[in-house]
Amino acid sequence: MEKRIRNNKMKLQKEKEKEKEKEKEINDEKPKNEIKKRPKRTKQRVLMLSSRGISTRYRFLMKDIFSLLPHAKKDAKLEKKNSLTEINEIAEILSCNNCIFFETRKKYDLYLWLSKCPNGPSIRFKVFNVSTMDELKFVGNSLKGSRPILTFDQQFETTAHFRLAKQIMTEIFAVPQGLRKSKPFIDKVLSFMIVDNKIWFRCYQIIWKEQNIAQQGLTDNADLNVLEDENNLLEIGPRFVLQIVRIFSGSFSGSTLYSNPDFVSPAQIRFSQKQKKVNRFYAKAKAREQKQERDSQIVVPKDGLEDVFK
């Protein structure tokens, strides 16, 4: 009985709506052919993955980046058996254009992959100096899903590999307009700067001039040393440093287009540190041999007065 009532109500509502539409059409003087043209909107969806063996700090980093990107989709951890090319298939299933893959090795080396999924290029970075949003020195806060302003250093345009990196990062980190989960006001800045041939990532909250209010009851503006006539920035979010390792022409496959000569793999660093300890032993052995030689060559001159007091 109740269902029938509900259905009847629905039918009535629909009929009312149709009548309204008809009235509108009659009242409107515009011809039907003029449909409102929506501006071209880009479709970008990001797939976020990690490999097995990821540690807590990098898991929290992943969580933080996921909250920065409302157009992202998470998926289960990728096992070692599955090769990296399977990520492309997963992205197809979830209809994702882009992919961020966190590859961990030996539980404390993190490599970050950014790729355009079906055909496009992919970049592998080594990640240093990770600080997550959880740390108490990051004072800012912003809307979850607001569209960020991206600022890039001018050095990104000097060399070709940085230009590619810039293009891929804009497509991944910029939230597309009109997205369902995105929020209206502009609250944050993501900045990518180049120092020492590495990309430094920062995320700030913007306090515009018009919002000269004590920020969420934290402290007065006087304590934050802020002039009321200027915009202000508070750091929100994760911080990391990226060093390009390689750029591939396909996503997770293909020939290398760029390999970084400055990159030293962490295994090599550990190896050289061990070698220092080993070389200490060799240095001692060497010194011992040299001492033996020197001692054998020593000729003590005869004292004329040796036999005096015998």
């Binding site: 501006p39 806060n141 809307l143 600022t151 293009q167 920062r202 287009l257 793999s265």
Partner: protein
């Protein structure tokens, strides 16, 4: 000829040095390219365990070719060494034997040298142990990279307005030291502030709303609990700073306290004098004129909000001290027992995040007891352990 297989003889031959150098020079000029190829191939093969992707992507096709090249190169090297080293001897067998001996001698003499120099000066292919894994080939294909960028831009489409990806570019000052955290963060902030100004103008043109009104409540990236923690952290830091400054002030006050007291006493005495004189005058005038003179109170100038007996500053200090003392009238022992009173159990240990964070029980100084409230037995055990550890 693999370095691994050779055995090191302990008999040193001093004359072998000269020969090795001449051999090296002759060999280097003609075998440079082949040596480089050899090194690269072996390096790439030995990187397999560390960088799997390169094998999958790059070297699947190339490995097969390289292995063939390796074998060819090794054979060629051996032949050329034999021919060049000793032109007098015509038998190849003798050449081979002498080559092996000389190379062995090279190693024996050059144990004293660093392994890196050793590798550079000989044709012997180094083993994994001594390998520095220096790659000589680094790819930088600028054309292909630019082509990829253009492809991506095409895919995005033309007529993309600025508001789609709000990208701004800024400049950083040169010569930043990456180890100097404070300076770097400041410079980053400045650069992004400049970028925001540019962005704001463009946003106004596009008529996008910028500032969030106070009424607008929505889910934030950090929840309220996190923001409370941040707030407490800041307050605690400020309190610490204030506490430190107050202590400094007090110490200084104590040093110059005597001077200040003396000044105060002087001022009091002067005030007293002036008041007494004023009263005397008033009396004289009263005698003369009668009761038409002014009131007493108007003559003696009491400062506002001050009672004549007590000094304001002294009073406040006394109050503070009393409060401080009140906080600590109970001894620690008494306080611990009070906590237990009314429901606390004997064993109050907890494994919470707070307890795991607390550094209460760890002392950096060796000589102090590690556990304050525990029994003597636990301390004895600990000290025993420590003694044994030190002996080792």
């Amino acid at each position: 000829m693999n370095f691994r297989k050779q055995k090191i003889n302990k008999n040193l031959k001093p004359n072998a040095d000269i020969k090795t150098k001449t051999n090296q020079n002759e060999n280097e000029n003609e075998n440079e390219i082949e040596n480089e190829n050899e090194n690269e191939n072996e390096i790439e093969n030995e990187n397999e365990n560390e960088i799997e992707i390169e094998n999958e992507n790059e070297i699947e096709n190339e490995n097969e070719n390289e292995i063939e090249n390796e074998n060819e190169n090794e054979i060629e090297n051996e032949n050329e060494n034999e021919n060049e080293n000793e032109n007098e001897n015509e038998n190849e067998n003798e050449n081979e034997n002498q080559n092996e001996n000389e190379n062995e001698n090279e190693i024996e003499n050059e144990i004293d040298v660093d392994p890196e120099e050793f590798i550079q000066n000989t044709n012997i292919v180094p083993s994994r142990r001594y390998l520095h894994k220096e790659k000589t080939e680094f790819i930088n294909d600028a054309n292909a990279l630019d082509n990829k960028v253009n492809e991506l831009l095409l895919n995005l489409g033309q007529n993309l307005s600025w508001e789609e990806n709000m990208v701004v570019s800024t400049t950083l000052p040169k010569g930043l030291n990456p180890n100097d955290d404070i300076q770097i963060n400041l410079e980053f902030k400045k650069a992004t502030l400049e970028a925001i100004k540019i962005a704001k103008e463009k946003l106004k043109e596009a008529q996008i709303k910028i500032a969030r009104p106070q009424d607008y409540f929505a889910e934030m990236m950090k929840n309220d609990h996190q923001m409370k923690r941040v707030k407490n952290f800041i307050l605690v830091q400020q309190k610490k700073i204030e506490h430190v400054e107050e202590n400094r002030r007090k110490i200084q006050m104590r040093k110059f306290g005597k001077q200040i007291q003396a000044n105060r006493l002087k001022e009091k005495a002067e005030q007293k004098k002036s008041q007494i004189e004023a009263v005397k005058k008033w009396r004289k005038e009263r005698k003369k004129k009668g009761e038409t003179t002014e009131d007493l109170n108007s003559l003696i100038n009491f400062p506002k909000n001050q009672k004549p007996k007590q000094n304001q500053s002294n009073r406040n200090e006394n109050e503070n001290e009393n409060q401080n003392q009140k906080k600590r009238t109970k001894s620690k022992k008494r306080r611990m027992k009070d906590i237990k009173f009314g429901g606390g159990k004997k064993r109050n240990k907890k494994n919470t995040s707070r307890s795991s964070k607390s550094m209460k029980e760890f002392n950096p100084k060796w000589n102090k007891k590690p556990f304050e409230n525990s029994s003597k037995k636990a301390n004895k055990k600990f000290q025993k352990k420590r003694r044994n550890f030190k002996k080792k």
